[in-house]
């Protein structure tokens, strides 16, 4: 990251006690073009979890309209949820297509690696959408300033079943169908469900 392009999360990180910093991507709403670009990009959905927009997921970090000698260029910044996230190329292409369709001829998508994505960036609206789709939303992400402690027991208190609400759930696997989800099973209604992991 260059110093003159601060990511929104840096600002969030300085807010103590904020459990779920805003997922709202930064944008330059001062101009009509900037406002519209942010609105269009804000509607693009995650390819793996289509109930969420990239903005709700906290992956869309900013939408700016920059000017150079050739005119305006929309610059959208995204950050991967996991380093190896194979959906990044799709997200990038979706953003480019949607913005082009909306009349922005020049679109650039930049990758922001720092600060790393946190599940805390999933917005309240995103959490509600996850629950509505039968997924369990993440709790607060662990803070790891120093050495990371080894966890040989359960990684987190078992989340309640998103379908029947029962607390009697069991971890099946810490790794699910996508890198960001763990697998659980409800022992009351017997349905399996996915939990978005805290990172």
């Amino acid at each position: 990251m260059t110093a003159d392009r601060p990511a929104i999360a840096r600002r969030d990180a300085g807010t103590p006690g904020t459990r779920h910093p805003s997922a709202t991507p930064r944008g330059c709403e001062a101009t009509e073009a900037g406002r519209r670009a942010l609105e269009v990009a804000g509607e693009v959905r995650d390819p793996e979890m289509p109930m969420l927009t990239l903005a709700d997921l906290g992956v869309l970090r900013g939408v700016e309209v920059e000017r150079d000698a050739d005119g305006e260029v929309v610059v959208a910044s995204i950050t991967p949820t996991y380093t190896g996230c194979p959906a990044m190329a799709t997200m990038r292409d979706d953003l480019v297509h949607r913005l082009r369709d909306a009349g922005f001829d020049r679109v650039e998508v930049r990758v922001v690696l720092d600060p790393p994505w946190s599940s805390d960036w999933i917005s309240e609206r995103g959490r509600a959408a996850l629950r509505a789709a039968g997924l369990s939303a993440p709790g607060p992400a662990p803070r790891r300033p120093g050495p990371v402690l080894l966890t040989l027991g359960p990684p987190r208190p078992a989340p309640p079943c998103p379908r029947c609400g029962s607390a009697a759930t069991r971890l099946t696997s810490e790794f699910g169908a996508t890198a960001c989800k763990a697998l659980y099973r409800c022992t009351a209604c017997l349905e399996p469900f996915e939990h978005v992991k805290e990172i």
Binding site: Y82, D93, V109, R110, L113, P116, L152, G176, A179, I199
Partner: protein, 285 residues
């Protein structure tokens, strides 16, 4: 193929990527990231260092991905594939960072080749040019083998990434910041399975000990410093793996103690702690 394209590949690689459902992904993974080499650092050294870290991840990822469809059950199959994917992502960024620091490390390809530098490094280097540790490379064994291998690998890598978060190199710091979160899950997975196999059946216990005996000698390499690592650690860019020993020892001892498994006798990296029973090992210089 239409006449517009001289070959299949022209059609595949040229023009609008929108014809592909998932994009072509032939794009710099570091686009928009500051890849300036920090002041006072030799770009060639930085590139070599990134290759070390990147190759460890790449080769380990490859071995883990070989488990796909072969794990004891579907959940563990997916877990191993997930971990392979995390490491592949780290490898991609690290190899791209190596190429950005010193383009001379990238194997020469025919002019006009669309292969991105990180792929050229992954696919077109000779085997001798890879800088990974042997623990990442040894062929796969049984499930106990991959559990032990991941425990040893991720314990050292996590300790390294924790320290690399403050690297003066923006890319290394960013890869580490993200990697810590990922590898913490890998280490926990390996630790839990170690415990499970240790306290499982006689057979699982026997296999675990066999894997531990086979892989333990390769552990020392993870915490042995290469001159290049010392040099870059001094420059505030890299991490001296010798610094990791204490933390790595503590974590492994924790897992071994909880599991009731004695620590293997050979302690190749702890010359000072070596008692009379440790004569079989060669103390590190």
């Amino acid at each position: 193929m239409s006449d517009e394209h001289g070959s299949v590949f022209d059609g595949l690689l040229g023009g609008d990527s929108s014809q592909w459902a998932f994009g072509t992904d032939f794009e710099d993974p570091l686009a928009g990231v500051d890849t300036t080499t920090p002041d006072g650092v030799d770009p060639a050294e930085l590139a070599a260092y990134c290759l070390m870290l990147g190759d460890d991840a790449l080769i380990m990822s490859q071995r883990l991905s070989e488990w796909c469809s072969r794990a004891p059950d579907l959940e563990e199959d997916i877990a191993l594939a997930n971990m392979a994917l995390d490491l592949l992502g780290q490898a991609r960024l690290l190899l791209a960072r190596a190429a950005a620091a010193d383009p001379a490390v990238v194997p020469a390809l025919p002019e006009g080749s669309p292969v991105p530098p990180e792929d050229a490094l992954a696919f077109f280097r000779d085997d001798r040019d890879f800088r990974n540790v042997r623990l990442a490379e040894v062929p796969n064994g049984d499930f106990a083998h991959v559990v032990v291998r991941l425990l040893l690998f991720s314990t050292a890598r996590l300790a390294l990434l924790e320290r690399l978060r403050t690297s003066r190199d923006h890319v290394l710091a960013a890869v580490a910041g993200k990697g810590v979160k990922e590898v913490a899950y890998h280490r926990d997975w390996a630790g839990r399975w170690f415990l499970t196999l240790a306290q499982g059946t006689e057979e699982s216990h026997r296999r675990l000990l066999a894997a531990l005996d086979a892989l333990w000698p390769l552990q020392g390499e993870l915490v042995a410093a290469h001159p290049l690592e010392r040099s870059l650690a001094g420059a505030g860019v890299g991490v001296d793996p010798a610094e990791l020993r204490q933390e790595v020892d503590a974590v492994l001892d924790q897992v071994l103690t909880v599991s009731g498994v004695p620590r293997p006798g050979r302690r190749p990296w702890r010359a000072s702690a070596a008692g009379p029973d440790a004569t079989a090992c060669t103390p590190r210089p």
